[in-house]
Symmetry: C2
Subunit: 144 residues, 2 copies
Amino acid sequence: MSDCVLCAEDGGALIWRNAAMRVVLVDDAMHPAYCRVIWNAHVAEMSDLTPAEQEAMMRAVLLVEQQMRAVMSPHKINLASLGNMTPHLHWHIIGRWPDDVHFPQAIWGALQRDPTAANLSARRAQLPALQAAVHSALAAAFTG
Amino acid sequence: MSDCVLCAEDGGALIWRNAAMRVVLVDDAMHPAYCRVIWNAHVAEMSDLTPAEQEAMMRAVLLVEQQMRAVMSPHKINLASLGNMTPHLHWHIIGRWPDDVHFPQAIWGALQRDPTAANLSARRAQLPALQAAVHSALAAAFTG
């Protein structure tokens, strides 16, 4: 799959990986609380995985959610596996706030307002702590 | 939570329910292959559930995905738990096709084209089979 960006690249700043999957921090100018869990092999859908693989991937997604809530206290968590443009299985974990540029729309929807620079800066300052917490949680939960 | 629509109403045409959750068919004019799995109690996030509850809810979501693929053969499945407007835990399971009005954008994004009426009609004709298949799969997987 040489034309698949998630086969060719990590897809973000690598936080943790094992043989099956990886977690990255996404560099999104408007949504700082944004991680992805990416299955390493090129499969399209959750139902292409075995039940044990599905369970492991969702466990990783929900550990990221849990750490994002603990470190950054977002107003809401958004989870999504879409893959319409990149059909290589990956989950978006996005922390949302009422002042973010798309709230209450999905981040793939229409802009609702201008960004609040001070809030963006304050949230970006928490990203090293988020990365450390996610790494610790995933490393403790998974081996290999 | 008297102002929560998912506490007050089923949230779609009921396909199956047990004590913990329900599955509904969503009446969306542009996206016929659209189900939701809705947690019955008013909780906001997956990480507000116990691990056993999380596992049960995702098992239901993935059974719906599997039946939607079997009956309707969509080009791609989209899964999402957003809840920015209705913070009552629910999953969207949406079958997508390259001719649908939003593809390859999320269904919450900008319109890409006019609908193809013949394809919409053909897909709507499969909904009774989808409802039957989802009901059977969920009833077999869960009790109570």
